[in-house]
């Protein structure tokens, strides 16, 4: 099957609502690599100036393809797209002059850490004095002093990631795209990076941030979009998304032993009809429910009937992770 794109569907610049200082506008964006299936399918969203916008999704959900389209690396098959009021088809170079991109994969020159910063500064036309000053500041703030004379390829995974993120901050920009920037970072460095992103956003930098880590999305993002199979399944502020999915609370249950799959299959049948969603793995399950008391009662009844003991039973408030799992699994079931 070959995808047919009608003429009026061809890519054209999206309307940018300047009154809300919208710097990224995406409308009905679609992209196909093979002409048979869509890696991005009817994606629409906008990002305002100074906003940290998160893209959440599992591997292969389409996050990186979306970043590639936004950063002019690929030309979308159809839809409307505008970055900083510019049309990527016409103004690619101008857009690239005003954005920064930390890509998911490694990217280094065959040089020392310091050399990588210097070369990057030259590529971006940063004047020598500012370049040296920024390089030294970034090396210090990202804890790279001890490895500054080492070749970038000889560093550990976390150190490489730090170099990659810090190097991108050598130049000025209006929009920063971070494709899973915290992969491999330790907890302290991750928190410092997220705080730095927030601080820069407060000063007006617009940030698009993809991650698997929902806690950090919760921590740093003003709004998030849950992406799966190239589509946006849910999009709002973190708080609104949590509110949207609850009323609902999360019941966690871990069995002490016995046939977990059989137990949870029977429980799923008993919970049918009360709006609960059960996701089981081995002897543990997470149940998203509007009726936590009723759910607990059914679990206890089933436990007594089957003689299966429980190791852990807990009710807690929804997290962003619950929202993510709920929206993705709902689509899978559909």
């Amino acid at each position: 099957m070959t995808l047919q794109i009608s003429e009026n569907e061809q890519m054209s610049p999206a309307r940018v609502d300047m009154s809300t200082q919208q710097v990224i506008a995406v409308e009905n964006l679609r992209h196909s690599y093979d002409g048979k299936s869509f890696a991005l399918d009817d994606v629409t969203f906008g990002v305002k100036k100074g906003e940290v916008f998160g893209l959440l999704g599992k591997n292969g959900a389409g996050k990186t393809t979306l970043i590639k389209a936004l950063t002019t690396l690929i030309k979308p098959t159809s839809g409307k797209l505008s970055i900083l009021g510019l049309d990527p088809r016409r103004d690619g170079k101008e857009i690239r002059q005003r954005i920064g991109v930390v890509q998911q994969g490694e990217s280094f020159d065959f040089a020392t850490v310091e050399g990588n910063f210097d070369i990057y500064g030259v590529l971006w036309g940063v004047p020598t004095r500012i370049r040296q000053q920024r390089r030294d500041e970034l090396i210090k703030s990202f804890g790279l002093q001890d490895v500054r004379k080492k070749r970038a390829f000889d560093l550990s995974g976390g150190q490489k990631r730090r170099v990659q993120v810090a190097r991108e901050l050598m130049h000025d920009m209006d929009v920063l795209f971070l494709d899973e920037p915290t992969t491999g970072l330790d907890v302290i460095m991750r928190r410092e990076l997220l705080d730095s992103v927030r601080e820069r956003a407060r000063k007006g930098l617009t940030v698009v941030f993809t991650t698997h880590n929902l806690e950090e999305a919760d921590y740093v993002c003003d709004r998030v979009a849950v992406v799966d199979e190239g589509k946006i399944l849910a999009m709002d502020t973190v708080e609104n998304l949590k509110r949207l999915y609850g009323g609902k609370k999360t019941v966690e249950v871990t069995l002490a032993g016995g046939d977990g799959q059989g137990f949870f299959d029977r429980l799923r049948i008993r919970l049918a009809g009360n709006g609960s969603e059960l996701k089981a793995e081995g002897n543990s399950a997470v149940i998203l429910t509007n009726d936590p008391k009723g759910t607990l009662q059914r679990i206890m009844e089933l436990s007594q009937e089957t003689g299966v003991q429980m190791d852990w039973l807990n009710i807690r408030k929804n997290t962003l992770e619950d929202v993510f799992i709920s929206s993705v699994t709902k689509t899978e079931h559909e």
Binding site: L73, A111, I119
Partner: protein
């Protein structure tokens, strides 16, 4: 004042590639050819043949630099893909064409610089016996420049088509060997050679470069250069266009 994009990219290419490994390939290998072949084969020529052969060999080895420069160009693109810098540069303030031309001009610089080092080396070995006029040197460097762009385009084309590192390296080694030895770099064309080798000699662009460089050195281009140089220019333009096309298509799958 900010430097033009191509100049920034060339600065980066030179900075990243001036390392011992690249210099050994670029300068060391041709220098060894000059010394070992020069003295080794030269000694077989009776009556002080080493100097005469070195004088003959020098413009050939200078021409060989355009092949080496081409391989450096191809390797640059390959390494940038392999280590993620291609995608990183393409989301920077550059066009795809600037990136390609940046590599091409860097190959050109490496080719000319390598040829100049070989010329200095030859002067150091044979001294005043190596007679070259300013015009002769300009002719040699001019044709080596064209050859560098030809082989740079060829290696970029191969780099764009081949997907495996091992395959790329094998092709590169084979190409250096065949192009080098089936040319007039080390010896002059001889009609007593087997026909297939004669054909290889005649269609090999390095033969055109070496003939013109050698002719330039002695102050008169050979008659064959009247068609070989224009043909080399046409082939270079065609190859550059093909390399650009393949690069633009292939880099999408890598980014």
């Amino acid at each position: 004042m900010s430097l033009p994009g191509i100049v920034k990219l060339m600065y980066r290419n030179v900075k990243v590639n001036v390392d011992p490994g690249t210099l050994i390939i670029l300068i060391g290998l041709p220098a060894m050819y000059l010394v070992f072949f020069g003295f080794g084969f030269g000694a077989m020529i009776p009556g002080g043949g080493a100097t005469a052969y070195l004088t003959f060999l020098t413009p050939g080895i200078m021409s060989f630099q355009c092949v080496m420069a081409g391989t450096v160009g191809g390797s640059m693109l390959w390494a940038d893909r392999r280590w993620g810098m291609l995608a990183q540069i393409l989301v920077g303030p550059f066009t795809r064409l600037q990136y390609l031309l940046g590599i091409m001009f860097t190959s050109l610089i490496f080719g000319l610089a390598g040829a100049f080092v070989m010329l200095l080396g030859a002067f150091a070995i044979v001294g005043a016996s190596l007679q070259v006029t300013l015009w002769g040197a300009l002719t040699a460097f001019g044709v080596i420049a064209i050859g560098s762009i030809f082989f740079g385009s060829l290696m970029l084309l191969i780099s764009g088509l081949v997907k495996s590192n091992n395959a790329y390296n094998s092709i590169q080694i084979l190409l250096i060997f065949v192009v080098n030895f089936a040319s007039t770099v080390f010896y002059s064309f001889n009609s007593s050679l087997p026909l297939p080798i004669q054909v290889l000699f005649q269609i090999n662009p390095l033969t055109y470069v070496a003939n013109a460089a050698r002719g330039g050195f002695v102050g008169s281009l050979p008659a064959a250069s009247s068609w070989q140089i224009p043909l080399l220019i046409v082939e270079t333009i065609v190859l550059l266009a093909m390399a650009t096309r393949v690069y633009v298509r292939s880099e999408i799958s890598f980014v």
